[in-house]
């Protein structure tokens, strides 16, 4: 009897110990910014470059990828810049959706040509309250590696990227400049941009539907 009780108790202790250890391990493996970026890079370079995937499927997966790993509302707000304040709630929401479509088509087209590259995180730095992880894409054909920088921030317990720079060129920054030019050249302000984006999205979706 005592033997049974003893082993039961030992079992319970072991169980508790196991549980505690698991908890500790979980706490420890909450990913760092660098780990997050490494994961994002691997995913982009391995899954999204799959040659057997149809173009539509690639755009579809790219959209999910963007949604999961980027803080889309924050990026949209940055891209619209000063015009964010002028936009109505409905316009902001529509912009965010159209922007995702345009970016997904652009990236899907570029990733399609990738094969055999590898992604490695080099380091991380803080710039004010921004966390910036720098990495590089190593190429296979002897070409020099491509530098990539992701600015990330914590959204609750998960990391999300708010800026991506490739070869020193920030995608949101470029779009911000492009779209402000569209807004300024249009008579209808933000609505003019949305009109242009709608027809652009329609054209891209007609080619490779992702909806």
């Amino acid at each position: 009897m005592t033997a049974i009780a003893r082993s039961l108790r030992a079992g319970a202790v072991a169980l508790v110990a196991c549980f505690t250890l698991t908890m500790a391990a979980t706490a420890q493996t909450a990913p760092s910014a660098k780990e997050f970026v490494q994961k994002v890079g691997n995913e982009a370079i391995h899954n999204l470059t799959d040659k057997s995937m149809s173009d539509s499927e690639r755009v579809k997966q790219m959209r999910t990828f963007l949604r999961d790993n980027f803080d889309e509302p924050a990026v949209s707000k940055f891209v619209l810049g000063t015009y964010w304040n002028r936009a109505t709630e409905a316009q902001r929401a529509e912009f965010e959706k159209l922007y995702e479509i345009v970016v997904a088509h652009n990236y899907a087209g570029l990733f399609k040509k990738y094969s055999g590259q590898t992604f490695q995180v080099l380091g991380q730095r803080t710039d004010g309250d921004a966390t910036i992880v720098n990495a590089q894409i190593d190429q296979t054909n002897g070409a020099p590696p491509i530098p990539v920088e992701l600015q990330v921030q914590k959204d609750g317990s998960v990391w999300r990227a708010v800026d991506i720079k490739v070869d020193g060129v920030s995608m949101p920054q470029t779009h911000r400049k492009e779209y402000s030019s569209v807004i300024n050249r249009s008579r209808n302000g933000v609505e003019g941009l949305l009109q242009a984006m709608r027809s652009k999205a329609k054209q891209l979706e007609a080619e490779n539907p992702s909806e």
Binding site: G109, I137, A143, Q151, V169, M171, S181, V182, I183
Partner: protein, 277 residues
Amino acid sequence: MDQLCRRLLSLGAFAALLALGACATPPQDPEARADFEADNDPIEPFNRAVFDFNLVVDGAIIKPAAVAYRDVVPQPARDSVHNALENLRSPIVFANDVLQGETQRAAVTAWRFLINSTVGILGIFDVAKEAGYQPHSEDFGQTFATWGIGEGPYLVLPILGPSNPRDAAGLATEWYLDPFNRWMDNTDRDWAIWTRAGLTGIDARSRNIETIDELQKTSIDFYAAVRSLYRQRRAEEIRNSRPTSESPGPTPLSGAPEALPSPDRQEAATAESSAGR
């Protein structure tokens, strides 16, 4: 070449006259005005016209030539052409390394030139790279920038693409001082200068085909996107945050550098602040 310089100068004067007539009117709206000033593109209507012209030339001649070049010539041969062109440009890179006070980079450039011109057979093989001397590029535009000379307003050059007065002056300086060009000019072999320029353009363009296609396909205002890209790339190149190996200055025509990773990449241009918030 002096005759050529005169012709270029008169072309420049003509362009300046045209540009004066094509000044953009600053907008009234305060936010639009802030954008207008940040874009620093006072002759935008003129630049857009040249940009459109460049797109037409690119679509009709340069891109088809680049596609054919990539399709017909096997990769090793194209790499050799690229290496040889890069090697031929080494004296200019070296001069700019020195003028920027970058002695270590200057030494690397000198070693690369010596090794590749001899063991690498006139630069056809980049053996210096195998030996650990990584290539990088420099130009007079970047040197002027490190001397504190501002870029000035945005400028789209016919055929050569995105630029600004500083970088355009850099290009002209390079064209004039380049030892190979001088030698060919002095020996009445101008065709060699033009062949080299043409090859450099096709080589650069052939490394950017899909990147530019994608950018053009997904952008709403391609002109404004390229303007921003050019400035960001230039700023990055000037910072020397990374050795760049490939083409000098702007790629021909649209000259859009990649916005994104691309396996067949090629440097093009750089500037603008980051999007960090």
